[in-house]
């Protein structure tokens, strides 16, 4: 009667929850880091740039391992967070979101940084002469003109989060209903003899949500672009 089985619905909603949380939680940091990389010059900038880009080139299992060591409940940062703030990432969907966010972060930063670099700084100077302080200039000029880049960065990161597998399974394992997102569920079916049909169904679901998010991002991107250039 319903199109999807309960198992698939759980995996799908978990995937979307993990990806959305990862993108939204990392967005402010992504904008900040992109702005710093685009506009500031300081010693050690190349190092920061390199560290931001590391997850892009490291094997995801390495990222997962590093997260496990640092953010696990007995990890040096994870233990502190658990003790003082009561936040735990181990074996929970929050851990899956963290892993996805770390892996997708460089993609987001790259897109937003390029958009910041493309903003005409002469417009920002003009805003200063109109009496706007640096903060007002950032929020009324720089950020709105960067919006198309921010949207494309978010979509890229969202897609990357949906597909995240290696660091998730390393960091938070493969727990049904908690950390078993669509890629992990597919992996489980492929490992189970005789579940090829279920794997194929998940494969179709993955293709459909990827297509929908791509189309939605193009439509959104066009609208934001038009708004930023004042044509609607």
């Amino acid at each position: 009667m319903s199109l999807l089985t309960e198992y698939e619905v759980v995996a799908l909603t978990l995937s979307l929850k993990v990806a959305l949380t990862a993108v939204c939680a990392s967005l402010p940091f992504g904008i900040l880091v992109a702005w710093v990389l685009a506009r500031c010059n300081f010693p050690g900038k190349s190092l920061l740039d390199g560290i931001i880009h590391l997850p892009l080139v490291l094997p995801p299992v390495v990222v997962g391992y590093l997260l496990l060591v640092s953010m696990g409940r007995s990890g040096w940062l994870g233990a502190w967070l658990y003790k003082y703030l009561g936040i735990s990432f181990s074996f929970s969907w929050r851990g899956a979101a963290l892993a996805a966010a770390v892996v997708a972060f460089p993609l987001m930063v790259r897109a937003i940084r390029q958009a910041f670099e493309a903003v005409d700084t002469r417009l920002e100077l003009a805003a200063r002469t109109l009496g706007a302080g640096r903060l007002k200039v950032f929020f009324t000029i720089s950020l709105p003109l960067t919006a198309p880049g921010i949207v494309s960065g978010m979509v890229l990161a969202f897609a990357r989060c949906l597909g995240e597998f290696g660091s998730t399974i390393t960091f938070v394992s493969n727990i049904p209903g908690e950390t078993r997102t669509i890629p992990l569920a597919m992996y489980s079916f492929i490992e189970t003899p005789g579940a090829e049909a279920q794997a194929a169904r998940l494969c179709v679901i993955a293709i459909v949500i990827s297509l929908v998010s791509l189309v939605a991002s193009q439509w959104l991107g066009r609208r934001v672009q038009l708004r930023a250039s004042g044509q609607c």
């Binding site: 100077l125 003009a126 930023a228 250039s229």
Partner: protein, 361 residues
């Protein structure tokens, strides 16, 4: 008084200006491109920092290297109009106009400014759909609505084509006439300066060459190297004393007893500045009879200047207490055997004095 005393190293040239500009009317900063005009106006607006010196507007110190004062652009209370309008593409025209308005405007002048610049029909549109002249008008309005104490304009007409220039110039003239706001106007066009400015500062290669009221600077021999023979001219302030509406002619009294006819119908009693092109002035020993030339003025030959060109010589002619320059060929000079102090007649064709040579004061 706007006091400027600054130095700044710009690549190979040293910008060095020590000047006082009046805090009323339009003060023009004139010079060739690369002379440092834009750098100077950027220093006034806080967009560039001088190496040493001081900038003071009235009793407000904007910059003082010794006292480590350097107000940020947003603290200076100076409006800035750039050569490229720099409108914000994601704001509508009215959004752009309102961007820098104080939260509690002390002057309810939004409608006045919109009316003055003819922006009523543009308010809902976005910068992407505006012509160059319209953009520049919005940019001027946007700067005015910040209620500045000083308006800085960096070649606002330079990026426009000639029809757009002609469209915008009357707005600038109205602005200069109606607003009690000091304007610093950067330009490399003597035509624009004649139409708009009351005061003029000339920069060459980073150094200030001249600074003073427009007419005295205009007559200075130091300005002559900037002008080609076609551009050389004298500036006379005058009052309209007589008109011939049927012929579209007006007579302006330029000096005691001397008046010239111009080919433009002007309001009686109006105060104008007239530019007389030196190439349009000729001299003769005897008063010519039955001539088409409308203006024959008795003058005294005060100086002969042959230094700046081998092609022609410039004659400085004293007309009462005013000066008119005439360019004549060296051949004519030799044949006439003109002597300093000699009484001659200057002839100026009435048709050569047209709208572009007249600016109301």
């Amino acid at each position: 008084m706007l006091t400027i005393d600054v130095t700044k190293q710009l690549g190979d040239t040293l910008l060095q200006v020590n000047a006082e500009l009046p805090t009323y009317g339009v003060s023009a900063i004139f010079g060739r491109s690369g002379a440092g005009k834009t750098s100077l106006v950027n220093i006034l607006g806080g967009l560039a920092t001088p190496d040493t010196g001081r900038v003071q507007l009235g009793d407000r110190v904007l910059f003082d290297a010794c006292r480590r004062i350097n107000l940020r652009p947003e603290q200076r209370g100076t409006g800035f109009v750039f050569q490229d309008a720099r409108l914000f593409p994601h704001y509508s025209v009215s959004g752009n106009l309102n961007y820098g308005r104080p939260r509690h405007p002390t002057q309810g002048n939004f409608d006045t400014v919109v009316e003055l610049l003819g922006l009523e029909k543009l308010l809902k549109r976005y910068p992407a759909g505006l012509s160059g002249g319209e953009k520049q008008r919005v940019a001027i309005g946007r700067a005015l609505l910040t209620e500045p104490e000083l308006l800085l304009m960096d070649e606002p007409l330079a990026s426009l084509d000639l029809p757009r220039k002609k469209e915008l110039l009357p707005y600038l003239q109205r602005l200069a006439d109606e607003l009690k706001l000091p304007i610093v106007y950067v330009s490399h066009s003597l035509d624009e300066i004649l139409q708009l400015a009351d005061h003029m500062l000339v920069i060459d290669n980073g150094s200030m060459v001249l600074n003073g009221p427009l007419e005295s600077v205009w007559d200075s021999p130091l300005l002559r190297p900037w002008q080609s023979a076609q551009e050389q001219s004298s500036l006379l302030s005058a009052k309209v004393v007589n008109t011939l509406p049927a012929y579209e002619m007006s007579q302006l009294a330029v000096a005691d007893g001397a008046a010239i006819w111009v080919n433009q119908l002007l309001p009686l009693e109006g105060q104008f500045r007239v530019r007389v092109h030196s190439n349009q002035v000729s001299v003769c020993r005897e008063r010519p009879e039955a001539t088409s030339i409308r203006n024959v003025l008795p003058v005294k030959l005060a100086a002969i200047d042959a230094t700046d060109s081998s092609q022609h010589v410039s004659l400085k002619l004293q007309l009462g207490n005013k000066v008119v320059w005439a360019n004549i060929t060296r051949w004519a000079l030799d044949e006439l055997q003109l002597q300093l102090g000699e009484q001659v007649f200057a002839q100026i064709k009435g048709v050569s004095l047209s709208a572009a040579d007249l600016a109301s004061v």
